[in-house]
């Protein structure tokens, strides 16, 4: 994305999110997002396979607490 694309993206996505930005703020936000875009580009070059899942935080239940009783389904 070039600067013009980023500014257009900021204005469109802010509107979709219900964020009201005047022109000056939209410009400042776009420059911050441009910095993030540059960093995201660094990750685009990193090889990831379809099996590389996100780092985990969510656990449905601690594993040791799952009851396994004989005869139970």
């Amino acid at each position: 994305m070039n600067e013009m694309h980023i500014l257009a993206y900021v204005k469109a996505s802010a509107a979709a999110q219900g964020l009201v930005l005047d022109d000056a703020r939209a410009q400042r936000v776009a420059s911050h997002l441009a910095r993030t875009a540059h960093l995201a580009q660094l990750l685009e070059g990193f090889p990831l396979g379809v099996e590389d899942e996100p780092a985990e935080l969510y656990r449905p239940l601690p594993f040791s607490e799952i009851p396994h009783k004989e005869g139970a389904p």
Binding site: V10, L42, L43
Partner: protein, 469 residues
């Protein structure tokens, strides 16, 4: 023999705990000395945003009552401390550095770690300044004023736990609690010349603290010596099944810090960490490496991408967390960070998810590194404390934006979740200002980082320096 107020001010927290236990001074005497120091110095430093003196008097009196009855004292009995104002304190509003949170109800109970400190007998003096919602590295807070570096009042204290670093450096309290997502304990420890510990991600409960980035937030202590740091860290440890991010299922005490370096494989991080360090920061690292006998240069895997991913996840989660307020009252946010919060809220999902997927691969590579090394060293900040209001810093002839760049050397390490002690070094060429060195160990091996830090302290190269205020 009783200690005078002057002698009490000269003791670190570890020694204070011992003096109170031995009956050399009372908890109330220690408290009075600490309150007097705060009143004398905080007009210049601006570390505190709230003081809890009535509670402190009650807690100190309870310790002295235990003493009078001849009962056993808990490990931090009578030791003064304060907390970054994102920790819940029962009956107080948790500001998290913001104006917006002033309208929130007071906390119904203490944060989990404040409860741990109380159980250990420590005495809470108040709440400390920070960057709004922890999104910053300088504690230039527009709502509550900048916190000033006690070693040079024209300079920043670092952030986002700037009040936590400055309060220890100013001798107001010897122990503080802070939070560290991308460097927010290690940066102020580095710039203020105090000890800091960012534990393993998931070691300490975060329950009752105001979050910034759920995926990366850590809590931990800052202190006036390694002995104090280890003492408070052990007191804070406790499994907490109610915090989904608290992964430690048992307490692992630090053990004997004075065991020395025998058997420890210690390396020095080069590459990215060398390129983003100024000459004084490199000098600080070399002083530490020499003291620990570390000569081998080690490459941290994918540090550039690690920092990039930490940056993206922080922006996206931070922006999302505050989206409701950004929609209706953006002008009440900190002017220095509101546009970054909005940009974060607009982060494309692909960038965020790719950063999270990268993190898993990254973690495995970093953990593999520790099959060959026990402790790794790197500077904590690229430069010493910049002046308040500085927009740019110079790193080896290249201009970088001052505020985000203070975390260049800390972000890749915390993103992996490794424990780090920030050790206060005093290099040449920094106009007498400190620069910290990160003492990094494998996840769950805080004990090794603290052992190496203790060796730095014993060698006399890492320590606090008194300030004139």
């Amino acid at each position: 023999m009783k200690n005078t107020a002057l002698e009490i001010e000269g003791l670190d927290s570890f020694a204070l705990a011992r003096a109170i236990r031995a009956g050399d001074c009372s908890a109330c005497e220690v408290l009075e000395a600490s309150m007097a120091r705060i009143e004398r110095t905080d007009g210049a430093v601006n570390a505190f945003t709230g003081k809890s003196y009535p509670r402190a008097r009650q807690e100190a009196a309870a310790v002295d009552a235990l003493c009078a009855r001849g009962e056993a004292l808990p490990p931090l009995a009578g030791v003064p401390y304060a907390v970054k104002n994102l920790f819940d304190i029962a009956g107080e509003v948790t500001l998290a550095g913001s104006k917006i949170n002033r309208s929130h109800a007071p906390a119904a109970q203490d944060a989990f770690l404040v409860g741990r400190m109380q159980a250990a007998g420590a005495v809470l003096l108040g709440a400390l300044n920070m960057d709004e919602y922890a999104y910053g590295f300088t504690t230039e807070n527009t709502h509550y004023g900048a916190t000033h570096n006690p070693h040079d009042l024209t300079r920043v204290a670092g952030g986002s736990s700037g009040g936590s670093g400055a309060a220890v450096a100013a001798g107001q309290v010897g122990i503080t609690l802070g939070s560290d997502t991308n460097g927010s304990i290690r940066v102020p420890a580095s710039l203020c010349g105090v000890w800091g510990l960012k534990p393993t991600f998931g070691r300490l409960s975060r329950r009752g603290s105001y979050p910034f980035v759920h995926s990366i937030d850590h809590l931990g202590p800052l202190a006036d010596s390694v002995d104090s740091l280890a003492l408070v860290y052990d007191a804070l440890q406790s499994p907490d099944p109610l915090d989904p991010g608290c992964h430690a299922s048992s307490v692992q005490p630090v053990g004997d810090l004075s065991r020395g370096l025998a058997g420890l494989r210690i390396g020095v991080l080069g590459g990215y960490f060398h390129e983003h360090a100024s000459a004084p920061a490199r000098d600080a690292l070399m002083i530490a490496a020499k003291a620990l006998g570390a000569t081998d240069v080690v490459t941290w895997p994918d540090a550039v991408q690690g920092r990039a991913a930490a940056f993206i996840i922080s922006a996206a989660e931070g922006g999302s967390l505050h989206l409701d307020d950004l929609r209706i009252r953006a002008d009440d946010f900190e002017p220095l960070s509101v546009d970054r919060f909005i940009a974060g809220a607009l982060t494309p999902a692909h960038w965020y998810l790719r950063a999270q997927r990268f993190r898993r691969v990254y973690r495995d590579k970093v953990n593999a590194l520790f099959q060959h090394w026990d402790v790794l060293l790197a500077p904590a900040t690229p430069v010493a404390a910049p002046e308040i209001g500085a927009e740019w810093i110079d790193i080896n002839g290249t201009r970088h934006p001052s505020r985000p760049s203070m975390g260049l050397l800390t972000q890749p390490v915390s993103f992996a979740g490794c424990p780090v002690v920030a050790a206060p070094l005093w290099p040449a060429g920094s106009a007498g200002l400190p620069i910290g060195v990160q003492v990094i160990a494998a996840p769950w091996r805080e004990d090794l980082a603290l052992r190496a830090a203790f060796a730095l302290q014993s060698a006399g190269v890492a320590h606090l320096k008194p300030v004139e205020l």
